[in-house]
Amino acid sequence: MQFVLALLPIILILVLMAAFRWGASRSGGAGYILTLILSIVFFGANVELLAYAHMKALLLSIDVLMIIWAAFLLYRVADEAGAIKSIGKILPSLTSEKGMQSLLIGWVFASFLQGVGGFGVPVAVIAPILVGLGFAPLLAVVLPSIGHGWAVTFGSLGSSFNALLATTGLPSEELAPPAAIFLGIACLVTGWLVAFASGGKESLKRFFFPVLIIGSVMGIGQYIAATTGLWNIAAFIGSIFGLTAIILIITLQKAKQQTNNGQVDWKRLFIALSNYVVLIIIILIVQLMPGVKPFLSQVKLQINFPEIQSSLGYLTPAGSGRTISIFSHAGMLLLYASIIGFIIYRKMGLLNKDSGKKILRETFNKMTGSSISILSMVSLAVIMEHTGMTNTLAEGISTGLSAIFPFVSPWIGAIGAFMTGSNTNSNVVFSVLQMQTAIMLQYPVIIILAGQTAGAAVASVMAPTKMVVGASTAGMAGKEGEVMRAMIGYTVILILTVSILTTIAISLFG
């Protein structure tokens, strides 16, 4: 009975989003109110517990929101300066071959856009480009949709991975390696799926080795960045490696065939990317230059919480909530890059004096809705954790699914992402549940959490909320069902890949 009650808020959110097509903020609000009622009536939540839980939730939310807001701001600065359009115009001129265009734009460039932007940007930007190049509208949505899923966790400048860190309290040094390995392999499989989607078996056969090289380079690039503390630009670094690799392959092919389809304006490309070059320099300085990080980390937002007990006796030990180092936080680094990038674009005449206001206004308008959903869902998750609801769910799952839990775990993350429309939300709602279940079943927590976030990442691309954005930009509005049917097979293969990897990793290291 307790298990069913604890499950109700999650079911409510999933049903409202999937069946009733409610947005994340509306569903999050409904889920929050139900959780509050259930926690007071059935799980012994008292006023003191609720007060501390809300404050902890606020700290967690600020941690996540700082990155989301600043990442979008950085993207908006580049977009307002026409940088994203420039890159989108330059890349297709590299090759006229459809199969290679699919890989270059639908896979590698989509991953790059996920690395720097996210929030539905890859499909929204790429689908019209592919339609312009003569691709069928359905394919123009499907290719970038499946193409960028592997880059979601470490993309959007690390917002989803940061949510995983914030909600579990585990360090990035432990969580990043398995997650980067799973997603690296998923990247490779994604490349083959994009090749297959663009031209069937013939295309898959033809591009098998190029994909092997490019996918390995991207996966390894992401792994190196994620495991050396650069997790918030790991997908970006991986995709830059991938862009370099694919451009080299195209150049070599051209030299072999002695053809030339057009010149690349490298200077224009570099100017377009300057916003992100600044970001890399800032992150490298903070991470690698001795003394910089400790200096910036002097101002901390940290609150110590007492031991909290529900009326039913569920105990949460005393401890500090999420500690936020204000000036060295990943969100602040993004803010520094946004400001410097803005000045550079302004000096180059790409932005005018009104651009700043426009960028800030649009960032605020765009981010308010998603911030409400994060505040509600984080509050829901923290209340569930402090009243023992999450623990009840974990006990139920560990009893019922103990033997197959490693296989099922990525599907839980995937369902969360599909229904809530985001890897971040899925991590917020399910990470602690997955962690507690793994502890009860004595499975390695970091592998289960890697399965959670990787499963959520590859499934998030098929969320109805993202589907609507993608379909509308390619002139497929109202045909979201068609897009979903075309994508379901590819997405299932990717989730299955993560499931198998999690199971193998558990059997090797469990």
Binding site: A51, Y52, H54, L375
Partner: protein, 60 residues
């Protein structure tokens, strides 16, 4: 009710901003309530939080 829903949809952006601000400020209010052992402050905070979430639910 009908008028309220109409007003919500007409002022979607404004109500979203209000919801956001309330959800950011209410936990601080409740935390202070817990520190000074004031159940009244916490309960008021909860009422505000529920109100803000209701606003989010009806704000299509």
């Amino acid at each position: 009710m009908q008028k309220l829903l109409q007003s919500l949809s007409e002022n979607k952006s404004r109500f979203q901003k209000i919801t956001f601000l309330v959800l950011m400020l209410v936990p601080i209010m409740m935390f202070i309530g817990a520190k000074i052992s004031s159940s009244l402050l916490i309960v008021t905070g909860l009422v505000f939080a529920i109100g803000a979430n209701l606003l989010a639910i009806f704000n299509k």
